[in-house]
Symmetry: C2
Subunit: 239 residues, 2 copies
């Protein structure tokens, strides 16, 4: 990688940390230049405007999200286990890590509700892609017979989004120690509601889960599967 | 009302509109002074700091939320109908009106995740109060026999919060025309899941709703009940 490309990556990485903390609108070129020991004109050599930097940061976050959430879940066999893996990896993403203690998309969603323009457009496209992936996995689980035939996959995805956003709210703002347990309990009820009639009447206790044990830990990749960049910090709702 | 108190109210009203649009951190004294044709020193005569203004704006939003959401719902008889009214008034609040096209609390929740201090503390207290009101109404519905005895009221409230946040996300950011219908469908399933065994087996079709028709329109206050400041724009999930 050239020195220029390296600098560009460093700027994006630092801006991403700032954005997760203070929002994409909170990224200031002055603070960024000072933290990276660069001049403002040095920064502008890489990004012609604050908006160009915001777009690069959002694109970097989308790449990370794909690598940490969508890709490892889609490496699992299609069906209920893949849907559960998508949920678990998503929760882990919302928790963030040391480098990014939160979710840029949830923060940016609020920032750009009333701010039309290319940043908002990119954010919406990223959400359309993610919701499409959730719907696809849900429809596959229906075809597999893991979910009932008359399930409304769009409603299922809406409910899944709600649980994730509720978790983020209760965990991050409210510091509720029960948030993770409740998110799992809510998702378990959603899975039970989606189960075919026979499975539903058999109950939704962990032991009746149709997922083989080796699929119940999203961070544990099977041979030949890409391991997620960062192992989720939770056990799954089925383990 | 004195001229000073009037000016203070005008400042808070304008700042609230700005905050709903751009966040509480987006409230700038310069823009505010110019929009209100006041000098910056004139503004500072009413609020000694930006933080003091942010707190006054948040307190004003809490007052409006109580008046538009909690108070009219609690004017209804306790039980399932009151819980449904809380949900409907909440959705209408999230939609906002011409003066406030969104929800300050959802915006501020993202802004203050990583910003400790008195504004965040007040925001968290307002959410604790609201979640407590939801839990109280849920527990009442259990005592009334409208909800099953083994319902976990905290999980129910968590799920309700999730549906509301999912609705806000899909409606405001994604402009999804199906958002309102899905929020109602998700809440209907939540109510069905909370129903006592007999009611649950009778199905959750609108006709089986135990809510008398005159309670199903939150904006329509019964005699002696305080009407909400603004009638919700939705029909309820039970109408």
């Amino acid at each position: 990688m050239s020195k220029g490309a390296n600098t560009r990556e460093t700027i994006i990485g630092e801006a991403l940390s700032q954005a997760v903390e203070l929002g994409l609108e909170g990224v200031t070129l002055g603070v960024l230049a000072s933290r990276l020991n660069l001049s403002k004109s040095g920064l502008f050599a890489h990004f012609k405007s604050k908006e160009a930097l915001q777009i690069a940061v959002l694109e970097a976050a989308v790449d990370r999200f794909r690598a940490q959430v969508a890709t490892p879940a889609f490496a699992k066999p299609k069906g209920r286990g893949r849907v559960a893996a998508l949920f678990e990896h998503w929760l882990a993403w919302l928790d963030g890590g040391e480098a990014a203690p939160g979710c840029l998309f949830v923060t940016a969603a609020q920032e750009y509700v009333q701010r039309p323009g290319p940043v908002r457009d990119l954010l919406v496209r990223s959400q359309v892609e993610w919701h499409g992936a959730l719907r696809w996995a849900t429809a596959q689980a229906m075809t597999q017979g893991d979910f009932r035939k008359d399930l409304d996959p769009d409603l299922f995805v809406f409910q899944m989004i709600g649980i994730a956003l509720g978790y983020q709210h209760m965990q991050k703002l409210m510091n509720d120690p029960e948030a993770l347990g409740r998110a799992h309990a809510a998702f378990d009820r959603l899975l039970a509601d989606a189960a075919p009639a026979a499975a539903a009447s058999a109950g939704s206790a962990p032991d009746s889960s149709p997922i083989p044990p080796n699929q119940a830990v999203p961070g544990q990749a099977a041979p030949g599967q890409a391991a997620p960049a960062r192992a989720p910090q939770h056990e799954t709702s089925d383990s």
